[in-house]
């Protein structure tokens, strides 16, 4: 498609991410909560794009679990393909992309900039953002506070593979008077362990890239890196990887790569 603006929209379970590019540069990126109605979110996004003046001569691709709600999209692509494409554009290396989303965790193998193989978590929320959200609620704090607490704690073991059972493990720690920071550290540790076991099951090849909301938490990145004994690449636009992949899928083949740094 030959247009002035290429717009990628990633409607995730928790947050919706939007990027706008032209044929050379990333022009804009923004993020909003998905809320309870993906159709409303899609409407709010097009409204915002109009206000910003990007709605003329644009092409739009939607991804993420709410992608079918973007009825004005020209293209509909799964988040797996988009995350692969987006991660390759950001990191410019092949290897293994780990994306921890609100309800899905994806492990993607990239070869020659293409998705070669992938694995997603099962129906269960353990090892996803949802798990942290549930536990933060239980500990009466928000995400930021949870990481801060975890940083100063010694991880208690939370071994259950099920979020609901893990929550009862947390409750029994609270009941037995364990320190909040140790429980918080246990929560983060448990997510890292679950993600790593999924990644190892899939097989880790080449460089490891982390995208999604958790890639902004240095504590978590450091923990993952220590457990994997490997450098983990992150990028300031990491949470936009899916939206970037969607936008890139719209550009004519043979286009010059867009500069994201």
């Amino acid at each position: 498609m030959d247009c002035k603006y290429y717009i990628g929209i990633d409607i995730g379970s928790t947050a919706s991410k939007v990027v706008v590019t032209d044929n050379e540069f990333l022009l804009d990126s923004f993020c909003m909560p998905t809320g309870w109605n993906s159709k409303e979110t899609a409407k709010a996004i097009i409204q915002k794009l109009k206000e910003k003046g990007f709605s003329e001569d644009m092409a739009c691709a939607a991804t993420g679990y709410g992608r079918i709600c973007v009825d004005y999209a020209d293209k509909n692509i799964t988040e797996i393909t988009c995350h692969g494409k987006g991660a390759y554009a950001l990191f410019k290396v092949n290897g293994t992309v780990i994306d921890i989303g609100g309800q899905d965790t994806k492990i993607i193998t990239l070869e020659e900039g293409m998705v070669k193989d992938f694995l997603m978590n099962d129906k269960c929320a353990a090892g996803t953002g949802k798990f942290i959200e549930v536990m933060a609620n239980r500990l009466g704090c928000d995400f930021g506070e949870l990481y801060a607490l975890a940083y100063s704690g010694d991880a208690l073991s939370i071994s259950s593979m099920c979020t609901v059972f893990a929550e009862s493990e947390v409750i029994s720690y609270i009941g037995s008077g364990e320190k909040r920071e140790n429980i918080a550290a246990g929560v983060i540790d448990s997510v890292a362990n679950k993600v790593i076991s999924l990644a190892k099951k899939h097989g880790i090849k080449g460089e490891v890239m982390l995208t999604g909301g958790l890639s902004f938490t240095p504590y978590f990145v450091e923990l993952m890196s220590k457990k994997l004994d490997k450098k983990i690449h992150t990028h300031p636009l990491g949470r936009y990887a899916g939206a970037i992949g969607a936008a890139l899928s719209l550009r004519p083949k043979q286009s010059n790569p867009i500069v994201f740094d």
Binding site: Y65, I77, T78, E79, I80, T81, D104, M114, V115, K116, D117, F118, M120, D122, K123
Partner: protein, 382 residues
Amino acid sequence: MLRLPENFESFPEARKSGFMKMKAHKDNGGKIVGTYCSFIPTELIMAAGAIPVTLCATSEEPIAAAQEHLPSNLCPLIKASYGFALTDTCPYFYFSDFIVGETTCDGKKKMFELMNDIKNTYVMQLPSSRDEVALTMWEAEIKKFWKKLEDFYGVTITEEDVKKAILQKNAERDLVLEYLDLGKLNPSPISGYELGTKLDTLSFIPSMEERCKQLRERIDEVKADWEANYKGKVSRKPRILITGCPNGGVRDKTIKVLEELGADVVAFDTCNSNREKIEKVDTTLPVTEALAKKYLNINCSVMSPNTNRLKFISDMIDDYQVDGVLEIILQACHTFSIESYNVKKSILAKGIPYLKVETDYSKADAGQINTRLEAFLETIAV
């Protein structure tokens, strides 16, 4: 897109219409033996003058009832089989004079103990290897089943009766294979959803003659359609092979979705298709030895080792010009689940994309599966 013939009979429809035919058969004094698995030598049932029928095992409805007796983290096929029996909602179970189970996996063999309290359930002891000792034992089991049928019905089964049944079954296997071979045509003229559904519903038709007639008609129709409308055209649709567990209970959220997303499901390494049909019963050997050999060679993951299956899938990929493999694992099916590690390895080594989906009969994960299948197709560039 999914292509279905105008007179396509869905699985529930076929189950319902077969019921009336089966009732008529029974009302006329006909004999029926219920089975669950392709390891059962149905030639013996036919030789006894009875009709072998595959019993209901692919619906979510009776699972809740089954879980009153069975653990919930068990394979849905086993739970549904038992649940249908317990709630008396499978007409074929109801009409069966007795049930033949088999010790294929742990879940099944222990479930059959409980099923025996509902209806007479005879269990064939299937060994899990293919060496001489196993073959001797399995042949003895086949002789024992022969005797069971004679005692139960008060009839004598002669070697001639069995030979006749072997010839009939071999001919039916050839016809089913010819039907499955339609998947080799490129572009594919028939939906994999139709192929699989048809094979699952065949055993609801009591008359072998009628079964073969229906298959013959459909084969000729599809071949004529291919000659007229498909031949020589190029298709960009990815061609998918299905392997793994029986998929009747999850066909709608896997195979149907794949085809709606623009793929052609063309080949099946599953128990209702090539896996059981490929090897015929050797008519030059003594009958019990011939039956024992044929059935012991079925490439089911309950056999150990089962390396033949890897070669078999690899050959099918070539024969059916396959672009990607979807392995369907039913939740808690340990043998297929463990074997999938080697299946994946051997398929990827061949340079063919592979996806494994583990699921049960519920609709809870339909959305997630949809995304995985869509992403899988996006990775297959045809």
